[in-house]
Amino acid sequence: MSWAAANLWLIAAFPLAAAAVLAVTPRRHRRFAAGLSIGAMVIGFLISLCAFSSTLANHGERVPRNFDWINVGATTVKLGWVLDPLSAVMLLMVTFVGALIFIYSVGYMAHDENFTRFFCFLSLFAAAMLGLVMSNSLLGMFMCWELVGLASYLLIGFWFFKPSAAAAAKKAFIVTRIGDLGFFIGMIWLYGETGTLLFYDGGNGCLEASALSKLVAQTTMGGMALSTVISLLIFCGAMGKSGQVPLHVWLPDAMEGPTPVSALIHAATMVAAGVFLVARTYPLMDADPANIAGYSTALTVVTWVGAITAVFAALIAIAQDDIKRILAYSTVSQLGYMMVGIGVGGYAVGMFHLITHAFFKALLFLGAGSVIHGMHERQDIREMGGLRKHMPLTFATYAGGMMALAGVIPFSGFFSKDEILLSASIWKTSRWPFYLALFGALCTAFYMTRQMLYVFYGNPRSHAENVHESPRVMVVPLIILAAFTILLSIVGTPILPLFHEYLTGHHGEMGSGVVTVMLISTGIVALGLALGCWIYARRPLTGADPLESDIYYVLKNKFFVDELYELSVVRLNAWSARGLRWLDDFVWQGAVMAVSYVVLGLAWINRLIDEFVVNLGFDKGCGGFRLGARALAFWQNGQVQRYLRFIGLAAAVMVALLLWGWRK
């Protein structure tokens, strides 16, 4: 085992230690806080490089390392980490993008007084995410999953004094929790059936052949195979964390957090954790009684959910006015694409899009942060305009990100999305995901063009003074990320599918329709761009949006999903909470009060007994004593002559006794 594989845990340990130290660091040590966090991430990145090179050296061989955690009687709960191409590529991405975002935050949060606390929470998040990625056990992954959720809650509600931020944090936590319930049930069921939660354990792991065959063989409710049911339950967790419909409602509200948080957590890493979960448990998802590789009931569900999400979110994004919310819905949509990718083409397809998306979405968010920073904390795109001249570097990098997102050659986003489209086009189950994905790509190009035109082009609509480019510490990460959006293309082109080969160990299938699909997608994207320009670039963008209409109104209000939830689930919850409170106030409280009254009654009886029986008895006893004493005291009054009389009487009595005895 290479050094990196044996010590993989260090990658997560450094940020965790940094978080622990920063938790007790006073607020004024800002440079120390930033330096410690960034240093921990950089060290993590270097170790990840070592890990990556070791996986290259042993040709993608999987190296698990497990240890016993808890011994309960005869059973042992084990945890562990695994170094394989999947975890290596995620470790690299998380540490690299994370380090860049940390550096960016130094500039973005420079004026915030809770700087140190921010970096503490960021480091905690990084440690948990890295732990999640390298975990070889579903239990370990679940623990890190929850920790990541906690860090997300802390960071969304970072400005807790804002009521909207606090509410958004609560919403995020609760909605993901609903998904986590499914995850938990699935996990427990899996443990019950296979007796282990380790993924790879020398043949005994739950993702290895023996366990999978056992799960596939059993059928349970609805005639579905057990593996399908467990996969769907685990997918519930992924739905919550990755914002698939219907659990997507928390992601747009999570934009209340600072922009670096949105970039790191809600674009690049945490939301990708759901996709990563599906990728990691792909052997389980793919296990099906029909036993066709790449086709199973669970994967079909994943594909459909992803496709619906992709289109749903893209439509909503068209009608949003907050610069970050457009990007948030875009993220939801792209996550849907990733799920489609895994469902139709295997986990390598979805993972490639995840990696490229991490880079360009982080770039877009950081760029948006730069815009917000330059506009002095304003986020409505209707108030922006013409920033191309004031913030040229931000504009250039943002444009690169936008191209990658829309899927324009030669950016990496084009290649990753194209892989998904190609796999969807040859999916034997249905062609509808392919058509939905195409429609989603059209919408994506359209709303990104709209955003670009609103923000960077035209005449300035705001009256903000001194709109300037952001400081170097914020711009340099943008440039680095932009560079990668192009560089990553190299590993994913159809001619040179290095990424696919690295992850799966074999050549990707290269159907005949590669060029056709590429042409179709380019055409769709061009159509979207053209539509956007035609609608938004012709006249100045003051006043109402050109698309203002009833449909636009529905899209702008997010298909009223939040309102639907409010009416149904939330109201039900509040009603049941009221009912339980009534129960608590009257029934349980009544029981407790009854007990306390019984006790009081007993105490009162006790007092009565004490006062009347005990005391009275005691008093009577004492009275008797006193009478007796008084009677006895009569005999001893100090008068000698009385004593003499008694002596005489006693002598007479004795004589009488003696006589009587003598007479007998």
């Binding site: 005291a633 009054n637 100090g638 000698v640 002559q641 003499l644």
Partner: protein
């Protein structure tokens, strides 16, 4: 006269002495009663010495000689005590001297 007569006289003297000892309030008069009781006992002994089976033993007489001596000593000490008590309490009325009551 038979022994019984002497014994009865002695008992009568004893009772008179006892009556005085328990009912007179003056301490000296109580002592007089005690002396009478002693004398009654002496009479008892002499009577027995005379009428008993073995008059040659002289036991009763010797006893009475000792008794008279002791009684004299006792009277001296008792009266000294009374004088000391009188000095302390300024009275010799026994019903006033009851500090040792219960």
């Amino acid at each position: 006269m038979s022994l019984q007569h002497y014994l009865l006289i002695s008992a009568m003297l004893f009772s008179i002495g006892f009556a005085g000892a328990v009912s007179r309030r003056n301490a000296v008069l109580v002592l007089i009663g005690v002396e009478l009781m002693l004398n009654a006992a002496n009479l008892n002994f002499i009577a027995f010495a005379r009428y008993a089976r073995n008059p040659e033993a002289l036991t009763g007489v010797i006893f009475v000689i000792f008794s008279i001596g002791i009684a004299a000593a006792e009277a001296a000490v008792g009266l000294a005590l009374i004088i000391a008590v009188y000095r302390h309490y300024q009275t010799i009325r026994l019903d006033r001297i009851d500090s040792l009551k219960g």
